[in-house]
Every structure is written in structure tokens, then in C-alpha cells.
């Protein structure tokens, strides 16, 4: 089964492939995301349970003592889940105010901060912690507000926000394609994190387009996997690794289960 076939009808299905063996954990993706999407810096960024990062970088290790210790990094944007039946995305289906929606055209899970009432039910529904609450009014000290991007609305206190796969860039690419005629070119719609990654660990594109690098890479790597596939969130962020211990940390397994025995997704 091709990866694109996992998803329902729709013109595009934008997705991401992250090669964990290439990721150095430099954090450039996170920084680029924050600058691109007007994510502020809170008073206390040491409190990671309240700091906002649409692209969060998890450091994991194999649990062994030196010198066998191995470290890897899991970059985690919003995974833009589709669910398995009728676009049953965990967060979209629970929002009482339709402040988050699943876009049939692109497969992108949107977030409408001006409609969000701050009930945080979507935060409870997401197992990836991809959703952040604005617990504070974001401070923009010393004229930093003048550096805000005009393409993304800054969020107010009390609402939930999350990665949108730089949806504003999709709109810009769509406009460009309309003016110039033709389809959206792969290079015209790339997320900020993808472009910022110095080691080329992140690849972004349309899973429906056989010409896109992501589709080719996924076809060449049938072992690509997703986070918590057993929960059937059917998300669109794929990972690659050659290390078994990293692969195993991408999902939950019972003590007796071995990786090949598990039918994921």
C-alpha cells in the first residue's frame, strides 16, 4: 500500500519526512518556525510544559550507560492526523467551536486562534503534545513586535495554537500558481523548518505527487514510520532511522512484543 493511499480523497496530502539519523538536534527548525510564525518567547522558557514550540525537539537516548550511550533527536511538528474514518482527527472532532478544522484539499489541520475559546479539549485529545496553550500574553520587548511577520496573526492569551505546516506559504504558492498558470511547484511550498534544516533531515511535499522528493523517498524506504501509529491517528509526518532502539521509541509496545510482530496503523 502506497503511503498516499492511507489518506482519503483530496487534491493534495502534504506531509513531512524526517530522517532521524541525519538530525543533529541543532534546533534550527524550531528557531525558523518561531520566527516564521510569530511565536513569542515567554518569561520563563525553562518551563517546557508552558513554553510554546510548534516544532519541538525531543532528545532521546538508548538508556545505556557510557560508553554505549546513544542519543537521537525527534523533531515533532503537528502531525496533521487524518484519522482512519471520515477525517476523524483526534483534535478536530472534539473542538466545540470549530476552531480547528481538517482541510480536505490539503490534508492540513488548521487552527483559527480568533475562534478558539480556550477550552483546551483539543490539547487533551492530542497525544503528541503538538498543541500549546497561550498561558501568558506574549511579551514582545524592545521593539521585537516590529519584526513580526505580516503573514501570520500573533495569538492572544488563552487560546490554543499549533503548527500549520506554514499554511500561509501554501496560500502564497497557490496564488503564484494561479497567476502564472499551472500547479503549485514543490519548491514554492516548503515549510520554514524544512528550509532551515542544515543537514537536510526534513523533507516536505505532496504525498499525492509522484514527482515530489518525499513521495520518492517514501517509496524507496518502506520502513518509514510514524509516531504512535498504533493509536490509528493516521498522521502525515513520517520518520526514518536505521537504529532499532530509536524505532522502538516511536511507539508503545508490550514487553513481549518484537518490532516485526507489530502491525502498525
Amino acid at each position: 500500500m502506497a503511503f498516499a493511499d492511507k489518506f482519503g480523497a483530496g487534491k493534495h496530502r502534504f506531509g513531512m519526512l524526517i530522517d532521524l539519523d541525519k538530525c543533529t538536534g541543532c534546533g534550527a527548525c524550531t528557531v525558523a518556525c518561531m520566527a516564521e510564525n510569530n511565536i513569542g518567547v515567554n518569561y520563563d522558557e525553562t518551563d517546557k510544559l508552558r513554553s510554546i514550540a510548534w516544532m519541538r525537539l525531543y532528545q532521546i537516548d538508548n538508556g545505556k550507560a557510557f560508553p554505549e550511550t546513544e542519543v537521537a533527536f525527534f523533531p515533532r511538528p503537528c502531525l496533521h492526523c487524518e484519522g482512519e474514518h471520515g477525517h476523524h482527527t483526534p483534535c478536530v472532532s472534539v473542538c466545540p467551536a470549530t476552531a480547528t478544522d481538517y482541510d480536505d484539499e490539503t490534508g492540513i489541520v488548521s487552527q483559527v486562534p480568533t475562534r478558539c475559546i480556550g477550552c483546551r479539549y483539543c490539547v487533551a485529545a492530542c497525544p503528541y503534545h503538538a498543541r500549546n496553550v497561550n498561558w501568558f500574553d506574549v511579551p514582545w520587548p524592545g521593539g521585537m513586535d516590529r519584526g513580526l511577520s505580516p503573514h501570520v496573526s500573533p495569538r492572544m492569551r488563552g487560546v490554543v495554537e499549533k503548527c500549520t505546516f506554514c499554511f500561509h506559504r501554501y496560500q502564497q504558492a497557490k496564488n503564484k500558481a494561479f497567476i502564472e498558470g499551472g500547479e503549485i511547484a514543490e519548491k514554492d511550498y516548503q515549510t520554514a523548518c524544512t528550509q532551515a534544516c542544515p543537514s537536510g533531515a526534513i523533507v516536505f511535499g505532496d504525498l499525492r505527487n509522484p514527482e515530489h522528493t518525499i513521495t520518492k523517498l517514501l517509496a524507496a524506504n518502506p520502513g518509514a514510520f510514524r509516531l504512535l501509529e498504533r493509536l490509528r491517528t493516521n498522521n502525515k509526518v513520517f520518520y526514518l532511522t536505521k537504529r532499532d532502539w530509536v524505532r522502538r521509541l516511536a511507539d508503545n509496545y508490550l514487553a513481549h512484543e518484537k518490532l516485526p510482530e507489530v502491525k502498525a496503523g
Binding site: 518551563d47 510544559l49 508552558r50 525531543y58 532521546i60 525527534f74 492526523c81 476523524h88 483526534p90 472532532s93 472534539v94 473542538c95 466545540p96 467551536a97 470549530t98 476552531a99 475562534r115 478558539c116 475559546i117 480556550g118 477550552c119 483546551r120 479539549y121 490539547v123 487533551a124 485529545a125 492530542c126 497525544p127 503528541y128 503534545h129 498543541r131 500549546n132 496553550v133 497561550n134 498561558w135 501568558f136 500574553d137 492572544m156 492569551r157 488563552g158 487560546v159 490554543v160 509516531l227 504512535l228 498504533r230 493509536l231 490509528r232 491517528t233 522502538r248 521509541l249 516511536a250 511507539d251 508503545n252 509496545y253 508490550l254 514487553a255 512484543e257 507489530v262
Partner: protein, 411 residues
């Protein structure tokens, strides 16, 4: 006497002197003041005043909300038994049940107004309603049921000795009473569904192994279990409040037979609930969880250990069910109260476990268990809701003819 308010007391009853009553009110208002201060902090400075975070999206307010809504279920279920099933003897306790229901639902809505991050947008749930969300259903049903409760409460307020002297108001109250079956039935329908939706809220979280439950059609099993646990504990809570008022006032308010009947209803429903809850837990532990790659024991660690199961289903489940099923226990005032307290604690523990525990558990294998303890403003608002309930119930008891048997029983 300038402070004499006896002309407002229900006909043929006596109440404590104004001074002790005012001292009691002052104590409740003090708690209310703490809540007001806490609410101001949270509304002015934001939800950063709480201990909630991106792990604990819900905190003690949602626990209290769910708990008081479950315990307030005494209103709709007693109304159902009184007006629809025609259990005449329950007319002696229905007023108290309605007042408690009104307190619980209005208190919960007040609390939710502070709990949501953008309270001014609270109405978006109605305007931009997502029909797939259990929370949308909860919002619609809670607000409409509160309106029903107000309609059920109004005739009682109008029956105050002085207000009832106004002929038009007395006429209105009398006729509102006569059509109460319509509202009791409507209330039953609304309450039944949103008690279920509150359970469904957690059961549909299919990416949260602790909360997720399979079910029938669009309803996870928690939908039905929450209804059952609410109607099992609601009558107990109503009766407990009556007992508490009896102890505080030193007067008998209903016959013991009425309390025994409420206990019997609670006992049978609790037993039925426990059988289904046991089956649900076994299926969840042996089928649902392993499919997700986690074991039952993975769900109970850190501060949220297996003791919670023993508490919820054992001490606060099987024990009160066993006690309430026995007539000799129900005949004893003290044992009946004890069994009912345990029963209510079971509902509260269940709501706590479903609200907090799914969020404490790390679903990503490389995350850690988290622990939540509320801040002072969170406690302030929680106790404030209790104080609000005490104020309303105390005023209602003092000035309204809540208990039809009171005059007869205290001759």
C-alpha cells in the same frame, strides 16, 4: 425587633435566630470573597495563575465541574421518579433535589466561565457549533437544562410566605407546578444526554489510552457509565444534603422512609453500574489497551497508582453498594449516611480519575509522568462554588417551603 425575619419563614416552621444565620452567611461569603479574588486574578492575569499546563489541559475545576454535575443528577433523576414514574413519597424531597441541581449546574457554568481561556467567546460553542464534539452537546444541554431547573425552582421561590400573598404570583406558581411533569421529562432527557456526553468526552479520546473506550455506534461505553454513576450518586447526594440540613437545624425534614427509598435507588443503580463498570474495565485492560501497545499496569504509576482503582471501585464502589442493598443498613441513619458518603466519593473519584489521569500519563514513550497539584486561586474558585451552593441552599431552607413534611414531623 428590627432583625426579625420570621414573617418570611415557611408557615408553621421555626428557624435559627438571625445572628447565627448571619455569622454562617458571613463565613460562606468569606469563602466567596476568596473565590472572587481568585476569579479576578485568573480573568485579569490569565490561566497562568493555575497549575495547568500543556500536559494538564484540565485541572481541578473540570474535576469539580464533573463531580458536581454528577452529584446534581439527583435533581433530574428524582424528578423523573417523582413526576414520570409517579413515586408520590419522593415529592417530599424533590424540592431539595431541584435546588441542589440548580446549584450544581449554575455553579458549574460559573466555573466554566473562568476555566476557558477566552471567556468572552464562550458563546462561540453555540454559534460555531461543531456537531461532532461531545463538548458541544454538553454545552447545549447544560445551559438548556439550567433553564429547565430555573423553571422548576421558580414556583418554589414564589411559594415564599410573603411572595405567595401576591395573587397573580400565587396563581402563576400554582399552575407552573401543575405542568411540572413537562419540565421534569424535558430535564430528564437533557440531563440524561449530557451526563452521557460528559462521559463520552473522555471515551472518544482515541489517542489517549487511559480514557479511550470502545462502544456502540458513536457512543463510547463511558457515555453510558457516566449516566449510571450520576444517577446512582445523585439521589445519595440529595439525601445527604437533607441529612446535613437536619443536623444543622436540629429539625426533622423528611421521614426516614423517604431517605431509605433514595438509598435503595442508589444501591440498586450503583450495583448495576459496578457490574457494567467491571466488565468495561476488564475489556479495556485486556483488549483495548494491549492493542495500543500498553498494559493495564502502565496506566497506574507514580502518584496515580493502582490504589485509585481500589478506592474508586472498592471502598467507594463495592462497599457502599453492599451497604445500600441491605435494608438494615438503610434503616440506620448513621450507616445510611456513611454508605451515601462513600457512594458520592466514588463518583467524585471517578471524575477525578477520568479528568486528570489520562493527562498525567505520557503517551509518547520518551516523555515522563507528570504530577498536578492545584494553585491557591484554583482552590479558591473550587471552594467558592461550594460556598455558593451553601448560601443558596441555606437561604432556600430558611425562607422557602422546601420540605412538605417538616411541619408535621416537628409538631
Amino acid at each position: 425587633m428590627p432583625m426579625d425575619d420570621s414573617r418570611y419563614w415557611p408557615q408553621g416552621t421555626t428557624r435559627c435566630k438571625p445572628i447565627p444565620f448571619l455569622i454562617w452567611m458571613a463565613f460562606c461569603l468569606l469563602l466567596g470573597g476568596w473565590a472572587m479574588h481568585s476569579a479576578t486574578l485568573c480573568l485579569w492575569k490569565g490561566l497562568n495563575q493555575t497549575a495547568m499546563n500543556d500536559f494538564f489541559a484540565f485541572g481541578v475545576w473540570i474535576v469539580v465541574d464533573l463531580a458536581i454535575i454528577a452529584l446534581g443528577a439527583g435533581a433530574f433523576f428524582t424528578g423523573f421518579m417523582t413526576y414520570v414514574l409517579r413515586r408520590e413519597e419522593l415529592k417530599n424531597i424533590i424540592n431539595a433535589a431541584v435546588i441542589i441541581g440548580f446549584i450544581c449546574y449554575s455553579g458549574a457554568i460559573l466555573m466554566l466561565g473562568i476555566d476557558i481561556g477566552q471567556p468572552i467567546r464562550g458563546w462561540f460553542g453555540f454559534w460555531h457549533a461543531n456537531v461532532h464534539s461531545m463538548l458541544t452537546e454538553v454545552m447545549f444541554c447544560i445551559t438548556t437544562y439550567l433553564i429547565v431547573l430555573i423553571i422548576e425552582f421558580v414556583p418554589l421561590v414564589l411559594e415564599n410566605r410573603q411572595i405567595n400573598k401576591v395573587p397573580d404570583l400565587a396563581f402563576f406558581a400554582h399552575h407552573l407546578h401543575r405542568i411540572m411533569i413537562v419540565f421534569a421529562a424535558t430535564g430528564t432527557f437533557l440531563s440524561f444526554f449530557h451526563q452521557g456526553s460528559l462521559g463520552g468526552m473522555f471515551g472518544v479520546l482515541y489517542a489517549r489510552p487511559f480514557a479511550y473506550r470502545t462502544g456502540v455506534a458513536i457512543w463510547p461505553w463511558t457515555f453510558f457509565l457516566f449516566i449510571l454513576s450520576a444517577i446512582a450518586s445523585g439521589p445519595s447526594f440529595t439525601t445527604l444534603m437533607v441529612m446535613l440540613t437536619e443536623k444543622a437545624s436540629g429539625r426533622k425534614l423528611t421521614t426516614h422512609k423517604v431517605k431509605m427509598m433514595m438509598g435503595k435507588v442508589s444501591g440498586y443503580l450503583l450495583t448495576f453500574y459496578l457490574i457494567l463498570k467491571g466488565a468495561d474495565t476488564l475489556y479495556w485492560a485486556n483488549v483495548t489497551l494491549p492493542q495500543m501497545g500498553v498494559s493495564f499496569w502502565d496506566m497506574y504509576r507514580s502518584s496515580y497508582g493502582i490504589y485509585l482503582v481500589w478506592l474508586e471501585l472498592g471502598l467507594f464502589g463495592v462497599v457502599p453498594a453492599f451497604l445500600l442493598l441491605h435494608r438494615r443498613v438503610r434503616e440506620s441513619y448513621g450507616l445510611l449516611a456513611l454508605a451515601m458518603i462513600l457512594n458520592c466519593l466514588g463518583a467524585v473519584t471517578n471524575r477525578f480519575v477520568f479528568t486528570i489521569q489520562p493527562l498525567a500519563i505520557p503517551v509518547l514513550p520518551f516523555e515522563k509522568w507528570q504530577f498536578y497539584w492545584p494553585t491557591i486561586p484554583e482552590w479558591g474558585i473550587s471552594f467558592g462554588v461550594i460556598a455558593y451552593g451553601l448560601i443558596i441552599f441555606s437561604l432556600a431552607y430558611r425562607y422557602l417551603p422546601v420540605f412538605p413534611q417538616e411541619v408535621e414531623l416537628n409538631k
